[in-house]
Subunit: 225 residues, 2 copies
């Protein structure tokens, strides 16, 4: 089996990506980033998901991204919004996908892997610049100039298989591949045991996705939203 590095956050999207990469026949090396999140519930979820979906290994890298400030997800002094906001949300982590893909690239180079998977999708498109297809294409181009593999003519590929799927389609695809979404945590302010708030952007998107997919929502909520 060819090795691949899968960025795994513990949320719904990246769990689906892991299932898709495995179905495509890759030996999946799952990478999570501990960048000073407010809660560690999603890292615990990532470990469960990696085991449940047969990853070859799962590593968590620590990174002091929170020291730089600038996001409600890493800076405790900024509140997580509980109603929809215009423009780029304060839950945006600066250059997050660039940083995560850079670390995935470093690991891929050590493993001799030429395939990287990331769970960006069309639903995120409006708010987050680093979720757009043109960003992924530009990163892939850069990666092929940055690495020994690229220099040797072995093309690296950044796979973003959710890119053009709605949340409902992602959920339908994941369920077909056996993903247990009850094990994933998407909430921006989940409790330490992984209970979701039901009110933040991530919770609203997720709940609407299950509704649109016509599937029962297995999310464990802290209270009835």
């Amino acid at each position: 089996m060819k090795p691949a590095v899968i960025l795994l956050s513990g949320g719904l999207d990246s769990a689906t990506v892991l299932a898709m990469a495995r179905e495509a026949g890759y030996a999946c090396h799952a990478l999570s980033l501990d960048y000073g999140q407010r809660h560690t519930a999603e890292l615990a979820a990532a470990a469960r998901v990696a085991r449940g979906l047969g990853a070859v290994e799962h590593r968590v890298m620590r990174l002091g991204l929170g020291d730089l400030g600038g996001s409600a997800l890493t800076d405790a002094s900024i509140a997580v919004p509980e109603s929809p906001t215009d423009g780029i949300p304060v839950t945006y982590v600066p250059a997050r996908n660039t940083v995560m893909l850079a670390l995935a690239l470093a690991w891929a180079e050590v493993l001799g892997a030429r395939d990287l998977f990331i769970g960006v999708n069309a639903v995120d498109y409006s708010g987050y610049p680093d979720c757009r297809p043109e960003f992924i294409a530009a990163f892939e181009n850069m990666a092929n100039l940055a690495t020994k593999a690229g220099v040797a003519g072995m093309k690296l590929r950044i796979h973003a298989p959710l890119q053009h799927l709605s949340k409902a389609h992602i959920i339908q695809r994941g369920i077909a591949l056996g993903v247990d979404y009850g094990q994933t945590v998407s909430c921006y302010q989940a409790t330490a045991d992984g209970l979701a708030c039901g009110r933040c952007d991530a919770c609203r998107l997720r709940r609407a996705g299950f509704l649109a997919a016509g599937k029962p929502d297995p999310t464990r909520y802290a209270r009835s939203g």
Copy 2:
């Protein structure tokens, strides 16, 4: 003064870049990465250099890049070579410049800085793919698609002012700008107090640079090489 993020390793090249950025009128925010180096002498050197050359601030981010293995600089089981080698040296850290620039980009976004400085140069060109001009250009293109600033049409620039300079020219330029190279550490296996081995690739390049520049070498060696 416009803010800029300067990648500062504690070595000769990045100290020169900091002096050049400051001369160009930037408020310099210096960033060092602690990626599991064998020694911390270069981080101590980075702090000295940041102070000596008037950086606005200096931050050290920790990153478990060494956990991924693959380089003599982060993996203690691989020996640092003491004679010239062909091809890409084992002192290559996987995707290092990609990772460092990604973190600099994250900080730049928080600071509202649109200028990033990195000390890659032509001497490194032959061995390290991520020191080449085409890599820097591809990173800049990606960065402009990745960030709020880029989306808002405020162009980010990756400055690599040493790119086409020889080591001798770098040294002459730095001395003209008041860089005290006795405070910098380039050696791949420096002692805890920053004494250089005089034999590794970095020491050989550096020594030859002072010779070619016709300047006294202020490097503190552990023994006469």
